[in-house]
Point group: C2
Chain length 346, copies 2
Amino acid sequence: SLIAVLAGDGIGPEVTQAARQVLESLDLDLRFEEAPVGGAAYRAAGHPLPAETLALAARADAILFGAVGDPAFDTLERSLRPEQAILGLRKELALFANLRPARLFAGLEDASALKPEIARRIDLVIVRELNGDVYFGEKSRGTTEAGLREGRDLMRYDEAEVARIARVGFETARTRRSRLCSVDKANVLETSQLWRDVVVEVARDYPDVALSHMYVDNAAMQLVRDPGQFDVIVTGNLFGDILSDQASMCAGSIGMLPSSALDDAGKGLYEPIHGSAPDIAGQGKANPCAAILSAAMMLRHTLDRPEAADRIEAAVAAAIAAGARTADLGGTLSTQGMTDAVLAAL
Amino acid sequence: SLIAVLAGDGIGPEVTQAARQVLESLDLDLRFEEAPVGGAAYRAAGHPLPAETLALAARADAILFGAVGDPAFDTLERSLRPEQAILGLRKELALFANLRPARLFAGLEDASALKPEIARRIDLVIVRELNGDVYFGEKSRGTTEAGLREGRDLMRYDEAEVARIARVGFETARTRRSRLCSVDKANVLETSQLWRDVVVEVARDYPDVALSHMYVDNAAMQLVRDPGQFDVIVTGNLFGDILSDQASMCAGSIGMLPSSALDDAGKGLYEPIHGSAPDIAGQGKANPCAAILSAAMMLRHTLDRPEAADRIEAAVAAAIAAGARTADLGGTLSTQGMTDAVLAAL
Ligand SMILES: CC(C)[C@H](C(=O)O)[C@@H](O)C(=O)O
Ligand SMILES: CC(C)[C@H](C(=O)O)[C@@H](O)C(=O)O
């Protein structure tokens, strides 16, 4: 299988390199091809998502993505900024289903801000829609009749967009504890009312899954109060962005959590949920676990190698249980040191 | 001064009654006038915000608000639902500035899901804009060209709306630790880019306040990881809704936290940040502290009686420190029992 490696900015190259080492150690008959993306691609080619990079991503069986974001480009017009690369890949390749599992690795109780007995119960997946919402509705800057500067972003969803992500939510719940919580703001938003209507309709095909609904403000509260109550959460692009980062921190370090972005056929882009962390880039101290676990997700969801995925996940858990810690986890291991600990546990 | 008492639904009447008892015990020369609101008003008058209720609220010096929301009306069209009452009051009376302080009361470490050493450091105010954003932009349901059902909500802000809430943020920071964090999603939203531009412009008038910017997903994470880093957070209507509920739970029970919604002239609506909690309504076990503390905020921000506000806040803190606890705090006191404990400490 062909893996497109888009390492990107900041700590992206360091952690992607670690994930690649782990994959290469497993003798899985994978071919890797690299291409620039984000700020690095803007530097090299004048655009955060060059046509060749998009073509490689389209051609590949799966994409291993690092991170994009570089404060050096904060003053560029938005369409040229590093973040556009990930938004563009998601949209152009119709990667609409973002799966973000969150759980506390045994031994990392100290890393979570939550009390250990609460944090230990976290075992949830956030299923976030990635191709619609206020991210991709019409946007404009203009002036009001009174001559005031104005900004506009249209939040919108249609029933087909909601139905397909709802199905991913129900299917995911079926492979787990069969509980799905749909998060919206239906007391204020038309978009959310359509969302709720469609989720209820799709639910008819999944009588075995227990469906509930929650407003997003309450969900943000419940994720702190008692995150153990959730199995699978399905929500829109914007709410999913906020809640998944929040959930990751409840579970300890954001440096431990992977994600996938899938299309209808199971092709996927796999990336740590952390960002490019420019403040520690190039120092060899980033936590590679999220990237390594993203590679495991790739083996499971796109490459149909669940046993290899299991092995990698078990190796990360074993390394953590044995005390391997990068700086974000309160330890002193370098990126390579942590990678070696995982390789040794494989 | 004339206080409009809009008790509303669920536990609203119980906790508002408690707050009124505390105010009446202080001999402050206040007149109280009640009017129905929310589901209760829909039952009595066919509308969640009857004209007489709005007129009383407009005429009063301040509004003591309970809560609205009643699942019995979930199937009504949105304009008739209980929640429309609070949205209508905020908009009609131009109550644009929502102040939501969050702190952990000494003794309530057990109630917070966060580790005590992290929760104890929480002392922040969220300044949330209440009159704009996707809450009040054009909304519609329709069908796409392909005949699919579609929902739309326009997110918008103009520079005047952003500037006036930014000023409230800076002024609030000045009365505290002089740090303001503006939260947006400027890497994706035009609205947020305008927001950021205008906040930076307003900042020129406040060289004594340290301004920072944070993306909303990161803010949701940081509020769990290290809430002690924040002094004042200023943000839009939607992000403020989510982050303030989250922050309240980090600080322990949502039953302890008050809020104000202010207009340009200092007139305000004061309400607990909790909702109507239909599951425990009418049982006399709701925590009245958030309502009592909302009355204290009213004395401070609208009625210019800061010494009375101090006394009430000190009495609540003393009652809590002495072990008074309603069910949400793991205790057994009734609403009246808790109110009596506060009255005794006054
Ligand atoms: C970089 C940014 C555009 C992106 C998003 O908002 O989706 C990121 O926060 C994420 O969650 O992957
Ligand atoms: C009841 C609802 C419309 C309201 C809001 O979203 O503003 C509530 O959640 C709040 O925060 O006061």
